[in-house]
Structure formats: C-alpha cells, structure tokens
C-alpha cells in the first residue's frame, strides 16, 4: 500500500490550480484533506502524475453569513462545520449531520467541498446540500458560475464540475423562520458510510408541512430527492395515513442497489422506516408550533 510516484505542487489561487488541471488533464488530482484520495493512492486504485495541493487558497476558506446566505468555503473542514456556531444557528441540518461524517480524525482533515466534489453516493454532505437548496460556486479562476446542488450530482461519482473547475464555496440560502430540519442515518458502525440516510427540510406552519425536502443518500448513484413522497406530505399535517402514503411512494422513487451487507429490498424498507422517524423528528411535538 505505497502510493505510486507522483509530482506535488502547492498553489495559492484557484486560477493556478485550474491552469495546472488544464495543463495535466486526467493525470492531475486536487488534494485538500486527502481523506479519500490518499487511501486510493495507497491501494493504487488511482495513479495521478501530479497532486495539486489547494489547501493554501485563501478564497476557499471560512464559514460566514453574507448577502442572505451561509457561505461555507470549500476548504472548511468537516470539524469546522461541526463546531461552527453560525452553522448551528442558521443551518442546523449540517450540525445534525456532521457527527455522522466518518470519525473525528477524518473530520479533522477532510473538507466540506472535497466531499461534495467527490460525490460519494453514501456521503452526508451532498444530500444535505440538496435538502437545504444549496448552490455550489464553481470557478476556474477567471469565470465563476453557480449551480444548484440539485442539478450538480449527475450520476455515480459524476458531477457537473468541468475538468478545470474547482468548487470554491457552497452557499446555503438562510432559511425562513418556519423552516425545520431533520437528519437520520443508518450505518453498520457509527462513522461508516450510510446504509441509508435521510436529510429532511420543511416549513411547519400552523400544524401543516409545506415545501418539504426529502433527500436520501446511500440508495442510488446520487442524493435522491423523493419528490412524490414530498408531494404526498406537502400541505398536510403529517398524520399516520399521510405518512404511509408518502412511504408507499418511495417504492416508485428509489431504486437502491444492494451493498455488501444490505440487500436492495432491505434498503427500500429502511428508507420507509427512516421517513417515518425523520418526519416525527422534523415536526414539533405536542404543544409546540
């Protein structure tokens, strides 16, 4: 498990990283936290000729609230998101999800943007980004564009990212005061990639659920938004019959593949269990509004 030989360059700007990506094409890989890449190098599953270390790019750092958005720099580490008071205040969905992202040692190094760019279908952040209507800021150093998270994940490990682009930041619209979130995940051991996970958002107004987001991970090639289940719940009081209608819709919306330990049928079953539990924790208990 020794990495094959590679060249290594540190860059200080998105433009410089992008230029190296253009120059070296498929032979180059970006490295930030390295929590996925270094393992694949050790196993020789990937043999890049050049690693471009982007950790020094200032404009990709930091977590801040600006212009009606919570902006998380792509280089923010998982632990930065986990411990951020701004995140907890404005986007508690991420605070709920963070402890499920691998283990403390990995959270101390791995980056928020790296996880989204890698787009592991069983990872937490891509699903959270979709559920919270995030937009991804992509840049090659000269031109920058914004892509909705819901449009970014195209297939298994495939994204809308162009070969010379970097995710520089993720922008979450600040939720309205009725917006509520829930997060639930099943994994064989805490910190493993999810067997099935669910990120939920919705407005709870006068006892009714509006504009819900039901986003699964671990059940397909990308985060999967369960639109029909959302429609079944939208505008309703999330009473048991409604919830069962929503669960029934999942069969038509999710087509999970089995993994080493869990069959496809079981994943679908678990998706229903998580929806029931997730909605219970999304809506306020008796006496709350």
């Amino acid at each position: 498990m020794k990495a094959p030989p590679f060249a290594y360059r540190r860059v200080a700007s998105v433009a410089a990283a992008s230029a190296l990506l253009r120059e070296h094409g498929d032979g180059a890989r970006l490295i930030a936290g390295g929590q996925t890449l270094l393992a694949t190098l050790g196993m020789r599953l990937s043999e890049p000729s050049l690693l471009i270390d982007i950790r020094g790019i200032a404009e990709m750092q930091g977590i801040a609230v600006t212009g009606g958005h919570l902006r998380i720099g792509a280089l923010a580490r998982h632990v930065d998101v986990e411990r951020s008071a701004l995140v907890a205040q404005h986007l508690p969905l991420l605070s709920l999800a963070a402890p499920h992202v691998a283990h403390a040692a990995i959270r101390n190094r791995g980056t928020f943007g790296g996880s989204i760019a890698f787009a592991d279908p069983a990872a937490e952040w891509p699903a959270c980004a979709v559920a919270a209507d995030a937009a991804l800021v992509l840049s090659d150093g000269t031109t920058s564009r914004t892509v909705e998270a819901a449009d970014f994940f195209l297939g298994l490990y495939q994204t809308d990212l162009r070969p010379d682009e970097l995710i520089t930041a993720v922008r979450f619209p600040l939720p309205g005061r009725h917006r509520r979130f829930a997060f639930t995940e099943l994994a064989r051991r805490h910190g493993d990639y999810a067997t099935v996970g669910l990120a939920l958002a919705g407005d709870w107004v006068e006892g009714r659920l509006h504009d819900p987001r039901i986003v699964y991970f671990g059940v397909g090639g990308t985060p999967v938004r369960a639109v029909a289940a959302e429609a079944a719940l939208a505008g309703g009081r999330a009473e048991p019959e409604t919830l069962e209608r929503a669960v029934a819709e999942l069969g038509g919306e999710l087509s999970p593949s089995g993994d080493l330990y869990t069959s496809a049928a079981t994943k679908l079953h678990l998706a229903g269990v998580l929806l029931r539990r997730g909605i219970q924790s999304l809506i306020p208990g008796e006496g709350q509004t």
Binding site: A3, H190, V273
Partner: protein, 796 residues
C-alpha cells in the same frame, strides 16, 4: 555491626501480586518509542513485496518479469520454483490428530496457486514502494481452475478435489462417542435440535505481520526480527527448512503490536522472506499491508454445527449430539494445523454441564480460501455458542427460566476433579460460585420487569447468558505429543546485578497484554524487592530461556510459574549469601523491600544492592570456598493435566430495533475464574478486549467470499471490526480458584472473553425477539439477517 536507617517499607511490604499496577512499558509505547519490526533498519536492507494470486485456484502458465527487473531499485525477482531450492516444503499435520492429511506447502506457489492471496512472485527492491512499482510490471499468464468455496459441498462427488493425491477434500475426521446416545435420545422426554453457523473472520492486529530476515553468509548465521508470539518455535522452523543449525538462528520479537493467535503461526510469507535473505545474503524486510493481511493472515471460525440436546421433562440434561463441519483453506496451517479449532469444538460442547452421554463428529475440509487456524478463543466461541444456544432453546421449549435451567445442570463445584462427557479432564471449576457472584452483579428480576414494560411499548430488549469453560496452561498434549517442536514448558532466568536490580528473562513474550508487568510483580514479591528494581527481558532467543511463548492462555500460568520458581531460588541464594556475610543464621533473615531484614529485631541490615556489589567486586571479602550464585534459571511444565480449565459466565443485555434490525449492546457482565489474579487491572482489560473481539464476531466481522472464492470485503472500509462507539460497558468480577498444578495458582485469562461473548449476545437477541417466534443462529447476526427473519418478504 552498623545498623542502616530503616527502609520505609522494609518491614511491611504489600505484595505486588494481586495489585492492579500499571504497565511500566506503557509510557514508552504511548510516546511512540516502541521498536516494532518496521522500526528496525539494518545496513544494506532491502524490501520485498509479493505478487499474489488474483484467483482462488489457478495454474501458473508463464511468469514474465523482464520489465520489472529493469525498474529503479529492483534487486531481484524470484518465483516459487527458485525459492524452493532454498526453503524446503512443509506439512501442517500433527500425528496425534489421527488420520489428518495435508499436502506439502511451499514458501511461494509452485506451478499452482490455491487461494486468492497466495504469493507467486517476490520482488525485492531498495524500498517497498519500488517493489510495488515493479509488481505492476510483471505479467503472469494463468489458467483459472474451478474453486472449491463451499464447505458443505466440499466432500460431494461432483466437487473438484483440490489436491488429487489426497483423493478427496477431507483434511481430518474425528468422532467422540460415549455410547448409548441414540437410545438416550429415543427415550428422552424432550429433544431440541438446531443448526448454528459461524462466519469466517480474522484477527486484525494494529501492527500487521512483519518479518525482517538478516542472513549473514560470512558466518552462515540467521537473525530474524519478527512480530511473533513464539520465537523459539520459529527459530527451530527456520533452521530446519533452510538447513541452518538451530544454534545459528536467532529470533527477536521486541515490541509486538497485538497478536491474538494470528501471530503464532508460521506463514509461507515468513519462510519466503527468510529464504530471500539467505539467497541474497542481505537483510530483507517484509511488512504485510492491510490489503494483503486480509488475504494472507489466518482466518478462523468457518463452522456449521448441528446440535441436539436430550432432556428430561424437569430439565435435566441427558446428552448432547454434535456434528461440526469446518472449512480451512487449501493447506492445513503449519505447524499447529487447521484442525485444532474443530477438534476443540467437539471436545468442548456441553462442557460446563453434568450429562452422561455425548457424541460428536468433526469434518475438516479443504477449500480455495485463505487458511484458517488458531485465533483468540480457538473453537471456544463456537462450542460456547452451540452449547448455550441450544440450552436456551431447551429452556424456551420447557418453559424454564434460562438461568434456572443452567443452575440445575452445571457441574457442582464439589465434583472436581472429574471428567467431562467428551473425555476432557477438569481440575477444579467454580460454576456455582460464579453463578452466585453473577446474581449479585445483575439484577435479573429488574431486567425482566424492564423487558416486559418496554415490550408493551414496542421496545425489544433481551438478556442472554453464556456459561463457558476454557482450556489454558496446556501440557505437552497440545502439540508436543503430536510431533511438533513447540515447547509446552517455559523458562525464566533471574539475576541480581551489581546495583541491586533484578533482571528477569522469560521465554514468554509481550504482545500488549502485560506479560512483562506481571512477571515484574512476581519477581518483586518472590525476591523481595520493589517493582522498580525489576527489569524484564523477553523476545530474544539468544537471551531468554527456551520456551513456548504466548498461546493457549499459557503466559501467566506457565511462564509466570517459571518466573516464580526462579525468583524463589534467587531469594534463597541471596539469603544464604547474606547469612554468610553477616554471620547470622539464615533462619533469622528475610528479604523485603530490597533489604535484608533481621526478623528477630525487625530491622533492615543491608540493601540487596550491597550483596550485588560484594559478589561482583569484592569476592575477596567473602569466606574461602563460598561462591554466591546470583543467576538462577528455572523451567516449568504443567504435567498434571492435559490442560488447566477455567470457567466463567457472561451476560449480555441488548436492544433490538425490529424495524431496522440494529442491535444496540446495552451492557455486558463477566464473572471469570482464572485462578489467582496476578494483576486485576490487566486481567480485566484482557477480558474486556477479548469480549470486544467476541462481540465483533457475533455482530460485525465476516470475510465475505463470492462464488469464485474471491474476498469481497478485504479492506478496513469494508471488513467491520468492532469499534468503540458500538461497545457496551463491560463489568468484570472474579472468583478465584487457584490451580493446584503450580505454586502461583494462575490460570489463563486472555481468551475467555472471546469465548463467551458471542453466545451471550446471540441468546440476548433471541430473547429480545421471543414475541416474534424467530431465532437467529447464524453469526454474524447482522441487521439484514434480523430483518429477513422478522419480515419474510425481505428474504424473497
């Protein structure tokens, strides 16, 4: 005579044995100053990486390594045929396992690879990375052969025979029959029957298998730095297979980062690495990486056991009828074989209980998978789960409380020494006292009330009990009588140096379990010095007495007794020396706290350091003809019984989420009788660590193979070792029944946790699921298996 100032602790010294003193070597390891094999760098050292078969079974048609030889840093590329000229083949059988068969195995595959992971080509290079680079430049042309993967069809006529010379895939068959079993089962009030399955798993050590071989051609001497449990055994094997006199082979095992039985075996990789050093005349290092560990470290526990238990209506056990089938890979592991686990399963089933009749059969079959062999617990986790599983089934069938059914059938504490129905000899067990101690720890009535209340709310908690016996402190019956040169005795040398420090060298090594600490405790007490005046040396065949090393929970009981005997004799020698020097009758003297004390006046007379000084530098002051002997070696072999059995009880409390299949471990209790407890802190942590490995086996760990014999989850991401987050609190209590086979009285403690935990958890899960009338008997018990049992539509 001048009286020296009283030593503060000279007159009343609390013994170290029995105290939970912390490990003196812990700080060094925590500070990263350990010396593991990979830390050892030698001049002109090179590294080997092995090209391993990607197929479970394939003929090697052609190896093209020309391109690899031209790559930077490459020193040599060697195949199995070349290596066979340096290293003789080896056969993993023992003569006392009658009828056992296994073909000769080579250090690297010759003509044919028999499992995915078998080494086929060795690349030696200046660095491991360069060796791995070169591996990618080697082309091997394969003819893929059909693989035998399933053990249940391994003996069927249509299944390919892996080794045609043997005529079948049968490695070993054994039967035990006390007689009259069929009649007893036919006449019994109740017969319960169930089949238990155990998934293959492996021990995952923090430090992987590592070996650094240094053959010096100028003097034809071999030095091997090895991460291993049995250095003397390895020295003998290297000597014989390489044709080097054993006296010219030295094996060093300094720090060993976990072993769990996985490092008690002689791996083909070990022989290949040593042979390469002999071939090249320079040091060669091999450190297994995680990926190759999964396909070369021994696996264990692939068993399917059919069990029947006959009882009277009032719950008295009449007999057990057991059939064990186990698959062990293409070769029996050398030199301890792959038949011991199954052999122990059929020796141990029903072991805690008083029952007159017993019958068991064992079939050990070859397969094209990684070799299996002894891993922590060796057969005990299987035997315990089978026994305790079917006892719980009987309890449910008869409507008797599981604890009560056990109480009615456990061997009585006053019935020892005795034989068990399978023929095992039991010295002295304490099942009844352990049960009583358990009932002090666990409020079963409260747990049952809680269970009933929660069940009404749809929360399913269960309580599982597992009684176990465990064989420890083996005599020569284990290996020696079978012809293996594996020492059942062990030795210790203690000596007083000129500064009054007592050095102890033992044939039993340290792999993280605290051996060196308990030896220091024994030396301190038996010589009469503070523990900080003791230094312990292990893991060097050139410097320690010949001994078996660490296995079968023998380190404390066998190695510790040798330390005790040597220390006692050193104390006697020091007292004699002091008596001569002080011109006092020896009966008036004793040694405590590092000082010679006048028992008549209760005052210290001299420090033992003064004895050291006199003996080494001023022999002129001693009477003519008197020679102080400050070095003592003693050996100890346990010869009273084949094994000294221990016993214990474990209880698991779990919650099963019936919608997700997730099992939450709420609590685990252990009552253990390992005889005399030398260090409660270390014993408790040994038990906890062992319980955790048992919990891994019952809930998480399995080496998953596809139908072609390829491992599907051979990485730390996919193979599920138990992690701290899922572990319960583990409460440990002791009952102490010292063995009378030694002065020390210690029995083994390192494996019992692993033996009992799977049974306790399996029973707890089934207890939780009783309202659903399902039983889970296939380990690991995964959420998927639980859901399939509870929701039949998921199993379609």
């Amino acid at each position: 005579m001048n009286k020296i100032a009283p030593h503060p602790a000279a007159t009343t010294v609390e013994p170290f044995v029995g105290r939970g003193v912390s490990r003196p070597n812990a700080r060094r390891l925590v500070e990263g100053r350990g010396t593991y094999v990979d830390d050892v760098e030698l001049p002109r050292m090179v590294h080997v990486a092995y090209l391993r078969s990607p197929h479970a079974h394939a003929r090697i048609l052609r190896i093209d390594a020309a391109a690899a030889l031209d790559l930077p840093g490459v020193v040599a590329v060697v195949d199995g045929r070349q290596l066979a000229e340096t290293c003789a083949p080896f056969v993993g059988t023992l003569s006392h396992l009658a009828g056992m068969r296994s073909p000769p195995q080579h250090a690297m595959a010759v003509d044919r690879a028999c499992w995915q992971g078998e080494a086929v080509v060795a690349v030696v290079a200046q660095t491991r990375a360069e060796a791995e680079d070169a591996l990618q430049a080697i082309q091997v042309e394969w003819e893929v052969l059909p693989a035998v993967t399933r053990m249940d069809s391994a003996l069927e006529p249509g299944t390919p025979v892996i080794h045609p010379d043997l005529g079948s895939n049968l490695c070993f068959h054994r039967e035990i029959d006390s007689g009259g079993v069929d009649a007893v089962f036919a006449a019994a009030d109740v017969v319960v029957e169930e089949t238990y399955e155990f998934g293959r798993h492996t021990g995952v050590t923090l430090e992987p298998r590592s070996v650094l071989a240094d053959f010096n051609p100028a003097e034809r001497r071999l030095t091997v730095h090895h991460s291993h449990q049995a250095p003397h055994m390895m020295g003998d094997l290297y000597a014989r297979l390489m044709g080097i006199p054993e006296a010219d082979v030295r094996v060093l095992c300094k720090d060993v980062g976990g072993s769990f039985g996985l490092k008690v075996h002689a791996y083909a990789d070990d022989f290949a690495t040593v042979a390469l050093s002999v071939l090249l005349g320079r040091p060669v290092k091999f450190v297994a990486d995680r990926l190759e560990s999964f396909v070369t470290d021994i696996h264990a526990r692939e068993h399917r056991v059919k069990a029947r238990l006959a009882l009277t209506r009032d719950g008295r056990f009449l007999g057990f009828d057991i059939a064990d089938l186990t698959g062990v890979g293409p070769y029996s592991m050398y030199p301890r074989t792959s038949a011991v686990e199954g052999n122990q399963v059929i020796n141990l089933c029903g072991g805690p209980y008083d029952h007159p009749h017993y019958r068991a059969t064992l079939d050990v079959v070859f397969q094209n998978k990684v070799q299996t062999s002894q891993y922590r617990g060796v057969g005990h986790p299987v035997a315990c789960a089978v026994t305790e599983g079917i006892v719980d089934l009987a309890a449910a069938t008869l409507g008797i409380d599981p604890l009560e059914l056990r109480r009615r059938n456990l061997m009585a504490d006053d019935s020892f020494p005795r034989k068990g129905a399978s023929g095992i000899l039991l010295e002295s067990l304490s099942h009844q006292r352990c049960l009583a101690r358990l009932e002090e720890m666990v409020d079963f009535a409260a747990l049952r009330r809680d269970q009933a209340e929660r069940r009404a709310r749809g929360i399913h908690r269960g309580i599982g009990i597992a009684v176990l016996i465990e064989l420890t402190n083996p005599g020569a019956a284990f290996y020696g009588t079978g012809g293996a040169r594996i020492a059942s005795q062990d030795g210790a040398t203690v000596r007083l140096d000129p500064t009054g420090i007592v050095h102890c060298a033992s044939g039993v090594g340290e792999q993280g379990q605290g051996t060196e600490t308990i030896f220091a405790q024994i030396v301190a007490d038996e010589v009469g010095v503070p523990m900080d005046r003791v230094r312990v040396l292990t893991g060097d065949t050139a410097a320690t007495p010949y001994g078996g090393g660490t296995w079968a929970s023998r380190g404390a009981g066998i190695g510790g007794e040798a330390v005790l005997q040597a220390s006692r004799q050193l104390r006697a020698n020091l007292l004699e020396f002091a008596a001569v020097h002080l011109e006092l009758p020896v009966e008036r003297l004793r040694i405590a706290g590092g000082a010679v004390i006048d028992t008549a006046e209760g005052v210290p007379l001299m420090d033992v350091a003064e004895l050291g000084r006199l003996a080494h530098f001023r022999p002129d002051l001693l009477p003519a003809g008197f020679q102080p002997e400050l070095v003592v070696t003693r050996h100890y072999a346990q010869r009273d019984y084949p094994f000294i059995f221990t016993n214990g009880i474990q209880v698991s409390h779990v919650e099963v989420d019936v919608e997700t299949g997730v099992v939450t471990l709420l609590k685990h209790w252990v009552v253990e009788d390992c005889g005399r407890v030398i260090n409660p802190l270390l014993v408790d942590e040994q038990i906890r660590g062992a319980v955790v490995q048992g919990l891994g086996g019952v809930l998480f760990e399995e080496c998953l193979y596809d139908e072609n014999g390829l491992l599907r989850n051979g990485s730390m991401a996919d193979y599920l070792v138990p992690m701290a987050g899922e572990m319960p609190d583990i409460e440990v209590a002791h009952v102490e029944t010292p063995t009378r086979s030694s002065e020390l009285g210690a029995k083994g403690a390192g494996e019992a946790g692993t033996a009992g935990a799977p049974a306790a958890v399996m029973n707890a899960i089934n207890d939780a699921l009783r309202p659903f009338a399902v039983r889970l008997t296939s380990q690991p018990i995964t959420p998927e298996k639980i859901l399939r049992a509870l929701h039949p539509h998921l199993a379609d």
